[in-house]
């Protein structure tokens, strides 16, 4: 049996238009190559 409240929590609010830019700026753009760079720099 579904728990309505629990299921409801899975639904996140939708982005509004004026939030697009802020969201784009806060996007994490780290990919694997960035991680490897960090690892290499750390090991040096």
């Amino acid at each position: 049996m579904l728990n309505f409240e629990e299921e409801l929590k899975k639904f996140q609010p939708s982005l509004e238009v004026d939030e697009i830019e802020e969201e784009a700026l806060s996007e994490d753009l780290t990919d694997l190559s960035d991680l490897l760079k960090d690892i290499l720099e750390t090991t040096r």
């Binding site: 639904f11 939708s14 509004e16 238009v17 830019e21 996007e27 753009l29 190559s33 960035d34």
Partner: protein, 447 residues
């Protein structure tokens, strides 16, 4: 291959995987693959742009715009993401609609959290009508239907959601839950016998349906039997109840028609009879008129003859014999009293001499056996005076008829002689002649 190349290769690998899944509407799978792709290489603009399209395909337009914006920021040159973004920016109405949709959806979430499920349902139904590719709205609506036990509506909504994204876990979870609850309901019914079911997968959906059993076949036979019985009963009702009434009604109508026709016939016969009587009266009147006319003409003629005879008698231009013939031709009944008086005067003057001449001539003709001429002469004498010569004129006339073979006239005049001159010898002779004629007639018939 160096590390960069390796990463690039793996990014492309997941991009292709994402593309393949996006084509078959496995948007959740495509999202996962594309995210992996950009994790290997954040500069893979194709992967990021496709990811934006995936979000757009699920109705999450604002999320798609975020992804395209990042794509354009990372790779500004020769990037289709700029076209996507410009298309929305150029149309203010589109951007406004997207914003309103997001706001309404968020408001629905608020309603749900505050216990206003009914309001949320109403709002969500409007959203999915205006934006039929907004997956999250379908899912939230399905959840509300499940929560309020409107399972048929929930199933309907989830079907649409699954068409948008065939592998979305929330959609699949709700479908599974629906089927589980359906199984639970049907297995709980005591009067339902255990049915054999057939279950199979159709795409990502599990279809469970019962197998047709003999019970259903028996039910069909009972249904057909009931239909046949119903038809028989209906026919019997028609035959015994409705048809007699219909026949009686028709018979009554027929009788009424016959009576009406009979009345018409009787009326027409009566009319015909009346017309015939009228016609007869007209004929009678016509006959009477004709008679009256003839009488009038006769009267006129008689008076004219009388006057003529009188004139001739006075001036002696005609013989008494001729005048007597003219007097005999007058119809005495058509004369009035004065006319009859005048007629009598004339006859008294003319007849005696006329009778004498005609009688003598008749006797002479009889003597020479010229009986035809004798009859003519003696007939005139008898008409002028039946008793002329004490009945001898009549007797001689009878004899003349007898001689010519005119037995009837002979008998007639013999009879008159016996009647008018009874007791005389002439009457006896007439009687004897009459008896001879009768005997002769009987003898002929006896032969």
């Amino acid at each position: 291959m160096d590390i960069r190349g390796e990463l690039r290769y793996r990014s492309l690998y997941w991009y292709n995987d994402g593309l393949r899944k996006a084509k078959i509407r496995d948007l959740t799978g495509a999202e996962n693959s594309l995210k992996k792709s950009i994790q290997f290489d954040k500069y893979n603009k194709d992967a990021r742009n496709l990811l934006g399209l995936v979000y757009y395909g699920r109705g999450d337009v604002t999320r798609a715009l975020v992804v395209w914006t990042v794509s354009l920021k990372l790779v500004p040159a020769d990037n289709i993401a700029s076209d996507y973004i410009d298309e929305f920016k150029s149309s203010r109405g589109d951007l406004e609609a997207v914003d309103q949709t997001a706001k309404k959806y968020n408001q629905c979430l608020q309603y749900c959290r505050q216990g206003g499920e009914d309001l949320a349902v109403i709002q969500l139904k409007k959203i999915v009508t205006e934006h039929p590719d907004f997956l999250k709205a379908y899912q939230l609506l399905a959840l509300l239907y499940l929560h309020t036990e409107q399972y048929a509506k929930a199933r309907q909504v989830l079907r649409k959601a699954q068409k948008l994204d065939t592998t979305d876990p929330i959609t699949l979870n709700y479908i599974y839950e629906l089927n589980r609850m359906h199984r639970k309901r049907t297995s709980g019914q005591k009067d339902v016998k255990e049915q054999q079911t057939v279950s199979y997968k159709l795409g990502n959906e599990t279809i469970i349906q019962p197998v047709e059993t003999k019970e259903r076949e028996k039910g069909m036979a009972f249904t057909i039997a009931n239909i046949v019985i119903g038809l028989v009963v209906g026919a019997a009702v028609m035959w015994f109840l409705i048809m007699p009434a219909v026949n009686e009604s028709q018979a009554r109508q027929m009788n009424e028609s016959i009576v009406e026709a009979s009345d018409q016939i009787a009326s027409q016969e009566s009319e015909i009879s009346a017309l015939e009587k009228e016609l007869e009266s007209y004929r009678t009147q016509s006959d009477e008129a004709q008679t009256a006319k003839e009488t009038a003409e006769s009267t006129k003629s008689s008076y004219e003859s009388l006057m003529d005879i009188q004139t001739k008698y006075r001036n002696g231009s005609e013989s008494n014999e001729n005048l007597a013939d003219e007097l005999l031709a007058i119809n005495q009944d058509s004369l009035g009293d004065l006319g009859k008086e005048q007629f009598t005067e004339l006859t008294e003057s003319i007849y005696p001499s006329a009778c004498r001449r005609q009688y003598n001539r008749g006797v002479a003709n009889s003597d020479v056996e010229n009986y035809e001429a004798a009859i003519e002469n003696l007939s005139k004498v008898v008409r002028m005076d039946e008793t002329y010569d004490d009945g001898n004129a009549m007797y001689l006339l009878a004899q003349a008829y007898e001689e010519t073979g005119d037995t009837e006239n002979a008998k007639n005049y013999y009879q008159k002689v016996t009647e008018q001159f009874s007791g005389t010898s002439l009457a006896e002779e007439a009687q004897s002649a009459l008896e001879s004629l009768n005997a002769a007639g009987s003898g002929n018939t006896g032969e």
